[in-house]
Structures are given as C-alpha cells and as structure tokens.
Assembly symmetry: C2
Homo-oligomer: 346 residues x 2
Amino acid sequence: MLSIFPNATQEQLPYDIEVLQARMSEILLTGIPELDQIITYLLAEPGKMLRPRLVYLAASLYPSDHDIVQDAAVAIELIHLASLVHDDVIDGSALRRGRDSLNSLWGSKASVLVGDYLFATAFRLINQHNIPAILETVTRTIQTMCSGEIQQLSSTFNLNLSLSDYLQRIYCKTACLFECCCRVGALASSMPSQQRDSLEKYGASLGIAYQIIDDVLDFLSTTKYLGKPAGSDLLEGNITLPVIYGLQDENCQKDLKEILNQPVNLAGQLDRVTQILQRCGAFEKSIQLADAYLADARASLKSLPEAGRRSLCSLSQALSSDYLQRMTSLSVLDGFAYQFYEPEPV
Amino acid sequence: MLSIFPNATQEQLPYDIEVLQARMSEILLTGIPELDQIITYLLAEPGKMLRPRLVYLAASLYPSDHDIVQDAAVAIELIHLASLVHDDVIDGSALRRGRDSLNSLWGSKASVLVGDYLFATAFRLINQHNIPAILETVTRTIQTMCSGEIQQLSSTFNLNLSLSDYLQRIYCKTACLFECCCRVGALASSMPSQQRDSLEKYGASLGIAYQIIDDVLDFLSTTKYLGKPAGSDLLEGNITLPVIYGLQDENCQKDLKEILNQPVNLAGQLDRVTQILQRCGAFEKSIQLADAYLADARASLKSLPEAGRRSLCSLSQALSSDYLQRMTSLSVLDGFAYQFYEPEPV
C-alpha cells in the first residue's frame, strides 16, 4: 500500500493507532454477522490515517477534551472510508489499499449500504458530544465533496479543463476534508476563531498539495505502491494536472490530443502518455505547484502557537521530502533535479 | 403513481405540501447546474409525503416550534428520498414513482452521490436546530435500515424465511423510519417521555402494516398503480409475507417451491405464483395480519390527548379503507369478503 509518509512511525503520531482502531470497531460492530464481516475486513487495513492525524494536530495547539478529539478524529476517518467505499462502487474499482475492494468482494449493493452505514455512524458519534459547530462543518464538507464529484462526472475527457477548474475540483475531492479536519480539531479545542481560520487555510493548502502529488503518482508509480492500477485516473477520463500542463505545452499538445481524443484505445497508450508528459516537464511543473501550496500551508501557520505549529510544519515537510524519496526510489524521473523549497523557519 | 391514501386531499393534511417542497428546494439547490438539474427532477414528483405527515401529526399533540417541526419533517423526507435513490441503484430499478429512476437517467455514479448529498443535507438541517436527541434518533434509524438491508442481501430466495425473520426485516426496511417520525415529532414538542414511547409503538405498528400492504400490492397491483413493475420483489429474490404463507400451506407449497427453486425462469411464472397464492388465501391472511397491526397501532394511542389521537387514528383507518378500495377497484380478489376490523372508538 502506498504511504506518502513512509517514515512516519507510530512514535511520531499524535495518537495511538490501535486505540483509534478499537474505538472504530466498538462503534461499528453490530452483532449482525453479514455486516460485521464487512466491517472487520474494512478495518483490517487502516490506511494512512492522515485525516485523524490532522484532527489531533489541530486540536493540540490549545486545551481540548481528549474524548471529543478522539471521536471527532474517528468520525472523520469513517466519513473518509465511506467516501472511498462509494467511490469504488462509482468507479467499479477492484482494488483499494492493495486489497480487493468491498464491491469486488461483496458487490455494489452491500457497498452502497455499508457506505451509508458508515456515514450515519460518523454523524451519530459526533452528535453524542453535542458541539453543533463540528457537525455543521462535517455535513457542509460532505455536501461540497458530493456536489464537486457530481460536477466532475460531466467533465470526463474534457481536454479544455482549466487549471482553476482543476484546483476547484481537487478542493472538493480532497482539500475540503483536510480543511474540515483542521476546523474540527480547532473546534474541539479552545482555539480563538481567527487562528482557526489560519489553520483551515493550512488544511486546504495541504490538501491541494496532497492531491496534486497523488495525481502525479497515479502516472509515475506502480500498482504495488499505489494499491490500485497506475493510470486509473486518466483511464476514467479524469484529467489531472500533469495532463493540463501537457496540453498547454506547444510541443506536446498535438501528440497528447491525438491519444486522448480516442479514449477507447487509451489503455494501451498509457506509457506513451507518461513519456510525452515527462518530455515536456509536466510532472516537474506539477510538483512545483504542489510545493508552492505546501509553502502556502506553512505560511498560514505563522500566527499560531509555536509548539503545535512545529508538528504541523513537519507534516507538510514530510509530504515534500517523503515524496521526493519515493520519486527517487522509483527512478522514473531520470535527471530530475528539482529542489523543493526549503521550509521557512518556524 | 400509487397512493395508498387516494382520498387524502390537501385540506386534510397537517402541512402545506407546497411550503415543504419550497423548503426542500431552498436547502438542496446549490447553483451547480449538474446537481440542481437532478434535484429539480427529484423534487418534481413529491410522492405521498407520508413520513412528514407522521412527524407533523406526532408533533401536534403538544405545543411545538413550527420551524423545528417543519425542518424535522423535511429532513426525514430527504432521508427517505436518499434511501429510495440508493435502493434504485442497488436494485437496478428503472422506474420510481411512475417515472424514470435517477439511475436510469443519470447513471448509478451520480445516483450514489446524490443519495449521499441528500443524507448530509438532512443531517445538516436537523443539526441547525440543536436538539441532539432528534439527530440521535435519526442516525440510529439509518444504521438500523442499512444493517437490516445488508442482512437481507444474503437471504434472497431463502424459502425457509420465517414469519419473525420477515417481520424483523420489514421493521428495518420501513417500520423503524415510521417509528422515528413519531419520536422526532414528539421530541420537537413538549410531549412527556412515557407518551412518546406509546407514539413510537404506534409508528412501528403502522409501518409494519404499511409494508405488508405494500408487499401484497406488489403481487396484485399493476405497473400503472405501483409506479414500478408488479412482481419486482419476488424477481429480486425478496421473499415476502404472501409467499411465506403460501409456503406454509400444505396444498400450495409443492407447486410454489417448484417454481421458486428455479429463479431463472421466474419472470414468466409470476402470474402462476399469484394464482397459487390466491388459491391458498395467502393474500387474505397477509391483509389480516396488516389489519391486526393497524389495530395495535390504534391501541397504542389510548394514553394520548384526544385531539391529536383522532388524526393519528384516522391515518390508520385510511390505510385500511383506502387499501380495501384499491383492492376492490383492481378486482383482483374475486369473492374477497374479508372485513377489516372496525376501529375502536377513540
């Protein structure tokens, strides 16, 4: 399974992953064998747990109630899981986190229902702590995620997708949930509202960077690292940043359009697309933009208390450096000499 | 479109249907054309609005805040809509409420997302009024609905389904949401908790009766009245009450098992199944059980204030008498002479 943070060991995490896992089992398992079997499978591969980590970090800057933070982190992970389960139904994906997807094992019927069950359980858990502002944030975020994805459905293979359309789309797909994690963590603590706004900006920028990197990796990585087949985005008609840059490049756009205008033959041409994008520097440009967003994320932290700021800053640095390491280990970018911005002193 | 309450005119309803429709549009429309187009289609055929009606009736027995009741009713209707949209994806149904289903017009991807959007919007709306007990009730109910439906998936064409399995299943499928409507209406008012329990029992019994009638109509009605093809339940392997009674009957079980053990040929044999069930009185027995639940529902109302009790009682009477009328008009039960229980004086 892909980990963008291969160096993040348990010691560095702001929570005990096993405690979170246990809490998830506790609230999800029902005693109904048909459902419990699916839930147990789902929880057996915890993934990166990046969103709970953000909630914890965001809550750590000011005093907070441990139980509220834990349940908020769990609830957001459940919402993330629900959206992955439904995404796999939507995309007909057979693999998730390097294993068979729920829909390939139990069919799309059960998967739709399990997703709904996860959503309801997440809302119920948040509601138990009676902080309406947290539930408001989370429900509004899901509305944004769904409406963004519905919008995207009608723009498959849209070769005229602009950079700003793309950024708006990945905000809805990924960044708004990162932003939500930060806001929820802040709301679970006594952080003043002005600082909360800064922290939300951090989350949104981090999320944009994260999704850009994910979109680059979708071309450059392998099934083994991705946990799903490489190139799936493009095969589904999802035009991502490297392709947008490729289509902007005068030397590449003709070759690229020729291939992309015939989606039916695309599967056999994926390597060729990657070569074209490499030739015109589309991956480097994408990484530069991701890095600019990471710098933005760090800049948003300036007004926050120093202790927590440092952990949040490290998270954004880890995203850069671990990614670079991954790229190097894959050896896909021969002669790739781009230097990430040095993080500003915090 | 089927209305089990053909005589229920706007004047008799405890709310203005157009006001509820307007409120739904207000909270669902986003300005995103791709989503708004689907929402507008969805809202154009409001259905029976039975669940909002129950919320209003339940809230009418004691003083309540009009805005809270309205939004609770709207939220529950949205949850009902979300579950219908997801059900149609799950069952691959092409028709809903006599029109093309969302999935047949916009595909299952958009339908899954629209369902999620409806759920999130419903929770957000309830949360705005800050009554955690209402949100607790609603989220717990959705958990029950989903887990029940997941359980059902593994029992298709299970000819050993017992009566109590069936009742448990239709509780999860339908009755728990009726029960939830009653509890939510009660929570939105100042009703004492003991009376709230009675009202919930009324809702659960009414819901069981409603689903039994729906299951009988699935055999005896027509596409025109049902808004979907007759016999769909059995074709999907969903064993309902008439079939359970048929399988219990010594004279019918052999013929019935012969057909049901070969589901692949079932579509051409639906009329024959209906004839067999008619022969052994399975429909009459089903209706008798529905009627017993309606009597139970009315009995649960005894401790409630008289004014509101009358409307709730009328609702259960309407369910009996309008159903009988529908059966007669369909002329499917020649010589069907079953008399519904006369409602006890309220």
